[in-house]
């Protein structure tokens, strides 16, 4: 799955976010399912949509995924050697579709 700049322009320089599909690689290492297809509920504004629709800032010490509705942080992913930290406190819940469900 590819990710695209949300306004269609270049992200060089780190100023503009990508869409949530930019997290697919990191999340695939943690979960056995495609989490970008899961639905999140934003803890800040209760907006709900697919994880793939979050705004992701990739040019920082980790991945920061923000709600496109209120811009609160929903997911943070920090990669360290041999481990990944996943901070979900900005998401009330994740609804994960299962194959054959």
């Amino acid at each position: 799955m590819t990710s695209t700049p949300l306004d269609g322009s270049s992200t060089a320089g780190g100023g503009l976010p990508l869409d949530g599909n930019a997290m697919a690689g990191d999340l695939r290492e943690i979960f056995a399912v495609d989490v970008t297809a899961a639905r999140y509920v934003c803890a800040g504004c209760t907006h709900t949509d697919a994880v793939g629709t979050l705004m992701v800032w990739p040019h920082s010490p980790g991945l920061v995924a923000r709600c496109p509705h209120c811009s609160d942080v929903v997911i943070r992913v920090v990669r360290a050697p041999g481990r990944v930290f996943l901070d979900l406190r900005g998401s009330v819940r994740l609804e994960v579709p299962l194959e054959g469900g």
Binding site: G15, S60, G62, R83, F85
Partner: protein
């Protein structure tokens, strides 16, 4: 010129004298950001120190500019492994800001426009170790690099040098900030490679 060329070391990612372990030298100034860049009009800028008892001291931009400023040249080290040597800044020392603040707190949380936070022990902000910087390389600090003003605490990894600062909260106990809560080290000493929790 000597017979033996020292070569151009800037493109080599190997140990360079003066660099902490695991760092490489860059001559650029990479922009790292965890969200949209806030544009803060100077007439809306304010910096507030809040003590552990809730007492507040604050400065608007004009008052802040009237404080005694210092020019400093320091090396900076980002946890993403780039280092930049001999950077020049102008700013107000935290010691100056805390001169008339009554506190027995040992920790602090730095707050920024946009909601970013990072925790720093109070003693690391004193004795000429940290500033609120508003100029870089002789020019007003660009919003991408944290302007109008950012924390400058060069002896810790650069995520501690919060951009777009608007407050300092003094605390009796240490608490994690934005990146510390998500897996980064609570202190972040580049010379001890304290990048992640448990390092």
């Amino acid at each position: 010129m000597g017979i033996i060329s020292r070569g151009f070391g800037g493109r080599r990612r190997e140990s360079v004298p003066g660099l902490p372990p695991g760092q490489y030298l860059t001559h650029d100034f990479p922009v790292l950001s965890a969200g949209p860049t806030p544009r803060i009009p100077l007439d809306r800028w304010r910096f507030t120190v809040t003590t552990e008892t809730g007492e507040k001291t604050s400065w608007d931009w004009k008052e802040f500019q009237a404080l005694p400023a210092e020019d400093v040249t320091v090396d900076i080290h980002c946890v993403t492994k780039w280092s930049k040597l001999g950077t020049t800044w102008r700013g107000v020392s935290i010691e100056t800001l805390l001169e008339n603040v009554d506190t027995v707190a040992e920790y602090s949380m730095v707050h920024s426009f946009g909601g970013y936070t990072t925790n720093v022990p109070l003693e690391d902000l004193l004795d000429g170790k940290a500033w609120i910087a508003y100029q870089f390389d002789g020019e007003d600090l660009h919003p991408e690099h944290g302007g109008p003003a950012r924390l400058l605490i060069p002896h810790l990894y650069f995520w501690k040098s919060a951009k777009w600062v608007n407050g300092l909260q003094l605390m009796p106990e240490d608490e994690p900030g934005f990146w510390e809560a998500a897996g980064y080290h609570m202190y972040g000493d580049p010379w001890r490679e304290q990048r992640y929790q448990g390092d």
